[in-house]
Structure formats: C-alpha cells, structure tokens
C-alpha cells in the first residue's frame, strides 16, 4: 500500500515538525530559568569572573541560607523570608480583594435595575483602558493625604479594584439563565440569598481562574510598591530583587540574587500548579 506509506511518512514529518517547534519554545522559556537555577548554586566569584555556569555547583545550601535569612546585594538588604511574606500578603490581599469587589459589583450591575446602572458599568469599563501608570501620580497624592504611605493598606488598596474582573464576572453572570433567578424568586430567595446559594457556587471555577491570574498580577507588582514603600520591612520581593543589583561600583552577589530570584519564582509557580485544573476549567468550561 503505497498511499498508506505516504500518509504515514507525512504524519511522521508533521509530528517531527510540531515537536521540534514545541521543543524550541520550551527552550526559549526554560533556558533563562535554568541559568538562574544554576547560578544560585555557585559562589559569587565564579559568576563574578564572567563565567556562566550551565551545571550545578557546590554552594547551593549556603546561598539559599543567606538569601532566606540575611539577604544580600548593595544594601545588604532585607532577608528573602520577610520579602516573600510581604509579597504573599500583598498578592493575596490584591487577588481576594479584587475578586470580592468585582464579584459584588458585577452582581449589582447584572441582577439589579437601578438608576445609573449602565453609567456605573461604563465607568468601570472605561477604567479598563487606563493602566495604573497613567493615574499613578494622583493616586500617590491620595495615598499621601490618607497617610497610607509605608503601610500594607497603601500597597494594596489602590490596586484592589479591577475593571477586567468585573467585566469577566458580568459576562459570566449574563450567561446564568433568567429562569434560575425566577425559580429562586418563587422559592423565596432574596438577592443576598441568591448570591450566596446560586451565583457564588456557579462562579467557583471562574473565581479560581481569576485568582491565579490576579495573584500573579499582584505578585509581579513593581512600580507601585517601589513608590509607596520606603520602609524596608515592608519591601516586596520583586522590588527587593532589583534593589540587590548594584550600580556597578561594587561586585554584585549574583549567587544570592539568583537564589532570591528562584525563591521569588516559587509561590506563583505553586499557585499555578496547584490550581491548574481549576484554572483550565474556569477558562474553558461552562457548566450549565
């Protein structure tokens, strides 16, 4: 069967092509992380010499111990443990706060008829188009006036409203059939009851998916924490990491920096890995 042979050969070629292409993609993503990982296992002088080690070295334990407990770099800064905790609290507060606020505001916009409803929705929608950087100076001014500089609230509150999440929940709520609302009305469930018993349980997968996205969004915040926090005990790991890199006048402790970078990688990775199932479900599945 020559044609069958031809089909098989073509399939093989296609498989090679796709796999080769995928491997290239993986390499592009994974190689920098590999470098970081390897760099964190050598001593400062190895990297200082300009070597880029591709294989693990013997100093992993001491590098990580220093990064976790003492810190390093230009200012001999904050231990990674503290920074990670700060980042974690901030990212969690931002993610949960965003979900709570956007969930309730989307619920209000979809299920209630009140004057100015569409106006409220459009105002939320329009802020989608404004990146944080655009309003950063007035926001900073407001935070100063509210005396929230150098506080966790100051770190979190300006980032806690999310137009994107509101829009997403609104779209989801719109897919909830009117009959559920009507059945609940006949069952005697008020708006809060319906929210707690029907709308919220139905949105669980969406909430989980959003949590992953928003947690990483919060974790990766750089500009705002850099501005609002000078108190180093409140420093987040992303900001702290850049502060460890000097201006060139002294040698950077690249080994400790890379160890800190690896530590900074772990929580988001953990969140993604643990919630992957929910994440995919929330983005693809509509359970009706």
């Amino acid at each position: 069967m020559e044609t069958a042979e031809g089909t098989r050969a073509r399939n093989r070629r296609a498989a090679w092509f796709t796999h080769g292409w995928l491997a290239l993609g993986v390499l592009a993503f994974a190689f920098p992380i590999w470098l970081t990982l390897m760099g964190s296992t050598h001593d400062a002088s190895t990297i200082g010499r300009g070597d880029v080690p591709l294989l693990p070295g013997p100093h992993a334990a001491e590098n990580y111990a220093q990064a976790w407990g003492v810190g390093g770099g230009r200012y001999m800064g904050v231990p990674a443990g503290t920074m990670l905790l700060n980042s974690l609290v901030m990212a969690l507060l931002i993610a949960l706060g965003k979900i709570a606020i956007s969930l309730t505001s989307a619920y209000a916009v979809v299920f209630f008829r009140f004057p100015g409803r569409m106006l409220a929705f459009w105002l939320i929608f329009i802020t989608l188009m404004l990146p944080v950087e655009v309003r950063i100076i007035p926001t900073f001014q407001v935070m100063v006036s509210l005396d929230m500089i150098n506080t966790m609230q100051g770190l979190v509150v300006p980032l806690i409203a999310s137009a994107t999440a509101t829009l997403l929940f609104r779209q989801f709520f719109l897919t909830i059939p009117d009959e559920y609302v009507e059945a609940a009305k006949i069952d005697g469930a008020g708006p809060l009851r319906f929210f707690k018993d029907v709308a919220l349980p139905l949105s669980v997968t969406n909430i989980a998916a959003l949590f992953v996205i928003l947690f990483i969004y919060g974790w990766n915040q750089y500009l705002w924490p850099l501005l609002i926090v000078n108190d180093r005990s409140l420093e987040t790991v992303i900001v702290g990491l850049t502060k460890m890199i000097g201006g060139g006048d002294t040698q950077n402790e690249w080994n400790v920096i890379m160890a800190t970078a690896v530590l900074a990688l772990l929580p988001p990775v953990l969140v993604v890995v643990l919630m992957q199932r929910w994440f995919v479900k929330g983005l693809t599945e509509t359970e009706k």
């Binding site: 059939p177 009959e179 559920y180 009507e182 059945a183 009305k185 006949i186 069952d187 005697g188 469930a189 009851r193 018993d197 029907v198 349980p201 139905l202 359970e287 009706k288």
Partner: protein, 354 residues
C-alpha cells in the same frame, strides 16, 4: 388548593400591548390549559399570575386573597419552567429542598416532604445526583417534585414538556395529569401544542393576540369553536374554511362554486358573507358536494390525509378512512350537521336565530 381569579388583566411593554384584558375564574382543583401560538401572550399571563411580571392593570386573586403587587414568594405558587431551571450545583434533594429551607421548615419536615414527593415521582434513587447526571424525563420529574414539596395553592406550568422528545412527552403528559388529579392542586398549564391542551385541560383558554378567544372545555371548543381562529387552531389537520354568501332569508349559504347548503336556521341577513368551516375528518367521499382535485395523499395507516384543491384553486384537506386513495378528481360531500358557520367579517361563530 385554592381558586384563582383573573380580573381584566392587561399588560403593555412600552407601546406594545401584549394582553388586552383577560378575565378567568378557576375552580378549586381545576386544570386550566392556556394555549395559543407564540406571541399570543400566554406566557406573559402565566408570569403575571406567578408575580414575575407586573400587570399594567387588573387584579390576580388567589384563594380569595388579592395578591396583585405581591412578590412571587408571597403568593404561595410553584412553577415548573420550560428548561426546568434546576440549580446545577445542587443535588436533586438540594433542588427540591431549597424552597423549604428558605421558608425555614425544620429539617425532618423537609426530609419527609422531599421523600414523599420523590416516592410519588419515582425518583428516590436519584436524590443524591446532580441535574447534569439526569435524563430529560428525570429532570422534568425533579422540576415537578420541586413544585410538589412546596404544597402550594397553585401549580404553574410554563411549557414544561416542550424540551422532551415526542414519546416521553406523551408519557409525561399523562403523568402530570394523573398527579394533578391526585394532588388536586389548582393548575395553570401553558402550551402551544393543541394536542397537549386537549388532553390535559379540564378547560382551555385559547389565546389569540392578547385576548382570550374562547374559554371552555376541550370538547366544547372542538365542537363549537367561538371563532375562525379557535376553529383553525384546535384540531389536526386544521379545519377547512370556504367562503359563502347567505341567501333565501338567511337560510341557505351558497359557496363560490355554486353549491347551496341549507342552514339549520336563519343565520343572518341575505347577502351577508359567511365562512363555512368543516373539519377534514368530517368530509366524506360522494357525489353532489364539492369537486376537488387531490394533489397529495399522506397515508397514516388506518386512514389517509388528502390535500386537494377546489376548482377555484383554494386548498382543501380531508381525512378519510381506508388506504386506497389516489390522486386525481374526487367528489366530497359536506355533512350538514358537521358544518361550522362563521361571520366572514368578524370571524365570530354564528348560531341559528330560529
């Protein structure tokens, strides 16, 4: 169990008038079917009774109590929706118990009622399942169960059978009727299916463009339709309509083809236009009646539906017993006792004035 009274209900959505004053009195335990084509306002009427829609004017009285303006929950009604509206994240038990839980019934009472309803409907084995894991018929039963456990004054059905396949629909239809009789709960049932309407209802409300065209028992509607719309809507295949003119002092109707039909009495004035209605199953083959050309024969086993045309090209449908029917010319007689006479202008049924 309660009576229901609708007093001159009207409803407008902006400038669109959906209901033009519908009044209805429902006796205790009665099953009323509201039937009509889509857009006739039948669902709106049901939703007004449920309290999901607010009437523009008129009143809804349930069990002697005026519930106009009350929230659905305060009307003590239960509703079965077309798509069942079962909460997908709750088990069958959870779905059925939800309304009771909100009303704050004690747990043993909830379990007793749900258990009883489940036994009645034969879904005891499904109580732990999610709606997603159920077949269409089972979901339908759960939706019924949710209504039953509430022990409401009124059942409201909004086309609950239209999502089922044909066989299941017939089965569930009988089941709903049996259940309703057994529980004796006053019910309103909305459907667009005339067979469903005929078989389910103690009485029918035939809706047409926001009016109740006729409110009567199924057989009364079939035998004496109040106007041409009702006559054409109830019965399958639909009734044939042939225009005619009265003469001889209103005692004879002459068809366009020249055929003169004696009327049972004086139907109107000479020269008045009337519409003669005859059901396809009442036409008989024979000479001295209408001359038709059969264009299509639909054999149904013991009988056949013949699609024919009269000399002037107007269509005529006949349902004749037997299977040996061919295309071609056919003479059909109109038995006088089976004729329905309607006023051509208003479409209203005409009765002999002696």
């Amino acid at each position: 169990m309660a009576t229901l009274a609708l007093r001159d209900i009207t409803k407008s959505f902006g400038a669109t008038h959906v209901l033009h004053g519908v009044s209805l009195d429902v006796a205790e335990g009665e099953m009323i079917v509201i039937v009509g084509a889509s857009g006739c306002g039948k669902s709106t009427l049901l939703r007004i009774v449920a309290g999901l829609e607010t009437e523009t004017s008129g009143a809804v009285v349930i069990g002697g109590q005026d519930v106009t303006g009350l929230e659905p929950a305060d009307r003590d009604v239960a509703m079965v929706f077309q798509n069942y509206a079962l909460y997908p994240h709750m088990s069958v038990f959870g779905n059925m118990a939800y309304g009771l839980k909100i009303r704050g019934l004690p747990k043993p009472e909830i379990e007793r009622r749900v258990g009883e309803a489940a036994r009645l409907l034969g879904i005891e084995a499904l109580l732990e399942r999610r709606p997603r894991q159920l077949s269409g018929g089972q979901r339908q039963r759960v939706a019924m169960g949710r209504a039953i456990v509430r022990e409401p004054k009124l059942f409201l059905f909004d086309e609950p059978l239209s999502n089922l396949d044909a066989k299941l629909r017939v089965q569930m239809r009988a089941e709903i009727r049996r259940l309703q009789k057994r529980l004796g709960v006053t019910s309103l049932f909305v459907t667009h299916d005339q067979v469903e309407a005929m078989t389910l209802g103690d009485r029918l409300v035939v809706m047409h463009q926001g009016h109740a065209a006729q409110i009567a028992t199924p057989m009364e509607i079939w035998a004496k339709p109040a106007d041409t719309y009702v006559a054409g809507f109830i019965g399958s295949p639909a009734m044939n309509f042939i225009p005619a003119t009265l003469g001889h002092g209103g005692h004879v109707a002459t068809l366009a083809g020249g055929l003169a039909l004696p009327m049972p009495g004086r139907m109107g004035t000479d020269g008045q236009g009337v519409t003669i209605g005859i059901r396809p199953e009442h036409l008989r083959p024979g000479m001295g009646g209408l001359e038709a050309v059969v264009e299509l024969v639909e054999p149904l086993g013991s009988e056949a539906v013949l699609h024919a045309r009269l000399a002037d090209g107007s269509p005529l449908t006949a349902r004749l017993p037997g299977i040996l029917h061919g295309e071609g010319r056919l003479g059909l007689v109109l038995p006088l006792e089976s004729l329905h006479i309607f006023d051509a202008a208003s479409g209203r049924r005409l009765e002999s004035a002696g």
